[in-house]
């Protein structure tokens, strides 16, 4: 393997190459930094490139390998969504509010991946505070989809998805509150995993909606996602909602066959709201699973239609509370010459936040305000319980629920920015998993109008192993996940 094709390899292949001494981590990291240079001008996937510290970390990884002290990810490159705090490195969350924020500590996810030897190449662009489904709310400008630069890569983890799709890096972290890992993975032809709520620590991950937020990964295969999840998952006392549950060997579990897999299909997922070519690709994927001995059963999720309105009460309510910490006093943007304390708060926040973040804070403040709490917030948490009950009943009969990840392939930048509701409906198939705290994965399953389509699999709580093995077995039978946008081969 020459330095010219290192970017084409996934994490597992690169790990073997490093192990066999085919190339060093320094050579690998330098080759990928060259790709950032060559392609990020047009993609805008990175907010910060940490070239110098990446090369130093790669050098350390090579030394550790010589001494035989290497961790499972030793010398392997990745990027972090700019929502994860990284000590001594700019952490903007895609916002003017944190334009100059250099974090004084590392997120647990960052610490664990670095501890296993992973090398961070930079921080990726995202919708501001992860609020968006197109990457267009970023203060640093939208990310472009490598499959068509006039289109959105999805969001909010759009920079992570685009950089993996364009073969700049083999893997990226992301976060998913309503679909922010899975929808961009679908729109860019990558593999995106959102684990069970509480599976991966939220410590140091800038909070948007704390009862929904979960960290995960965007990779080129389920095998690579399994490798990373094994390092990231596990109890963390610094996250009060972290769940103490054993972490299985996800890589070892990949071999489980599709024979006897019970796949649930939700009728509403294939109704009039679904793009025709997307539906065709997803149905073909389901028949591949069936051909390998999986059984398809229809399951009923009667309250699913209310998942988007439920989410748009719960998520803004939690966001309005979480984002109250940005006050212009301790860190972040501060308005010039405030008249008084109220003016300092109001103007620092008014100047530091973009339009979508302001809308969500205002929506959240409204639904929590006196006289409206019962009608909106309490009601939404009751409907959320009904949605979670629907899933619980469905998982008594099936192992996974399968369907499309997004209603249509990547849309044009600017197409959905006028009406917030149109944008919110992008996440119609993914939000249910967040409301119920369930794990979900999106994997490439074909094309619609030359743009990638994602197959969405949802499992019961802590069902990541079965999701990953199902996705891996599908990827052994198909090559959609190996397709690369022509200009980035």
């Amino acid at each position: 393997m020459s330095a010219n094709d290192l970017h084409t390899q996934g994490l597992a292949q690169l790990a073997r190459g490093l192990e066999q001494g085919d190339f060093s981590s320094v050579e690998l990291v330098q080759a990928l930094l060259d790709r950032v240079q060559a392609h990020d001008g047009e993609l805008n996937a990175f907010i910060t490139v940490t070239a110098e510290s990446a090369l130093q970390a790669a050098q350390r990884a090579d030394e550790l390998r010589r001494k035989g002290e290497n961790g499972v990810l030793n010398g392997l490159p990745l990027v972090h969504k700019d929502i994860f705090c990284t000590r001594g490195v700019l952490t903007t969350c895609g916002s003017k509010m944190l334009e100059n924020f250099v974090s004084p500590y590392d997120a647990t996810v960052v610490e664990r991946l670095a501890g296993a030897g992973a090398v961070m190449l930079g921080k990726t662009n995202m919708d501001e505070f992860a609020m968006g489904s197109s990457n267009e709310t970023s203060y640093f400008g939208p990310v472009k989809n490598p499959w068509d630069l006039a289109r959105s890569p999805g969001g909010s983890s759009g920079g992570s998805a685009a950089s993996v799709a364009a073969r700049i890096v083999p893997a990226a972290t992301g976060t998913d509150t309503g679909g922010s890992i899975r929808q961009p993975a679908a729109l860019t032809g990558t593999t995106g995993l959102k684990p069970t709520y509480g599976r991966v620590s939220r410590y140091g991950m800038i909070a948007f909606a704390s009862s929904l937020d979960q960290a995960g990964v965007i990779t080129r295969s389920a095998e690579d996602a399994a490798l990373l999840l094994g390092v990231m998952a596990g109890f963390d006392e610094r996250d009060s909602t972290s769940i103490d549950h054993p972490v299985p060997d996800y890589v070892a579990g990949l071999g489980r066959s599709l024979q006897g897999l019970r796949v649930g299909i939700v009728r509403q997922h294939f109704d009039a709201g679904l793009d025709e070519a997307t539906g065709t690709a997803v149905r073909e994927a389901l028949s591949v699973l069936e051909s390998q001995g999986a059984t398809l059963t229809e399951v009923d999720l009667p309250n699913l239609d209310l998942s988007v309105p439920t989410y748009y009460v719960v998520a803004p309510a939690e966001c309005s509370s979480n984002l109250s910490r940005f006050d212009g006093v301790r860190f972040g943007h501060r308005a010039e010459n405030p008249e008084d304390l109220l003016d300092l708060y109001c103007r620092s926040r008014g100047e530091g936040f973009g339009a979508e973040v302001k809308r969500r804070i205002l929506t959240g403040t409204y639904v929590l305000s006196a006289g409206y709490y019962d009608a909106y917030y309490l009601k939404a948490q009751q409907v959320r319980q009904l949605i979670a009950d629907d899933f619980r009943k469905a998982f008594a009969d099936v192992d996974v629920i399968a369907g499309p990840t997004a209603p249509a392939p990547a849309f044009r930048l600017g197409d959905k920015t006028d009406d917030p509701i149109t944008m919110y409906l992008n996440d119609i198939y993914t939000i249910g998993a967040n409301l119920a705290g369930l794990p979900g994965i999106s994997i490439p399953c074909g094309f619609a109008d030359a743009l990638p389509v994602g197959l969405h699999l949802v499992g019961p709580h802590f069902g990541e192993e079965r999701l990953l093995s199902t996705a891996h077995q599908y990827q052994l039978l198909t090559d959609w996940h190996t397709r690369c946008p022509g200009d980035y081969a």
């Binding site: 709520y197 209310l306 109001c346 302001k358 809308r359 319980q385 709580h461």
Partner: protein, 95 residues
């Protein structure tokens, strides 16, 4: 329009968020659309449904009451917009 300009201005004060004059019309329009959209929830029958407190029904755990964090005040105040003698500076609150 389910919300008017005065309501939005009131919510903005509660949220400690300045909404500029040129942003207000668009904010009223879009917030109204969001509120109309989430109003569908009122159709759901939630009689006797316990509101969700945690997606996995987990309870908040307690930790032993011991000091775990070192003093990093100087380092943490390096990123503050205005400090003096270890204190955060804000406009005068008490005359």
């Amino acid at each position: 329009m389910s919300l008017d300009k005065d309501q939005v201005q009131h919510i903005a004060v509660l949220a400690r968020l300045r909404v500029a004059d040129e942003e207000i019309a668009d904010t009223v329009d879009k917030l109204s659309r969001i509120v109309d959209f989430v109003d569908q929830l009122s159709q759901a029958d939630t009689t006797d449904v316990v509101p969700m407190a945690h997606p996995l029904d987990a309870a908040q755990r307690l930790r032993p009451d011991v000091v775990t964090e070192p003093d990093r005040r100087d380092e943490i105040q390096e990123i503050a917009p205005a400090v003096s003698d270890g204190l955060y500076l804000v406009p005068k609150v008490i005359e």
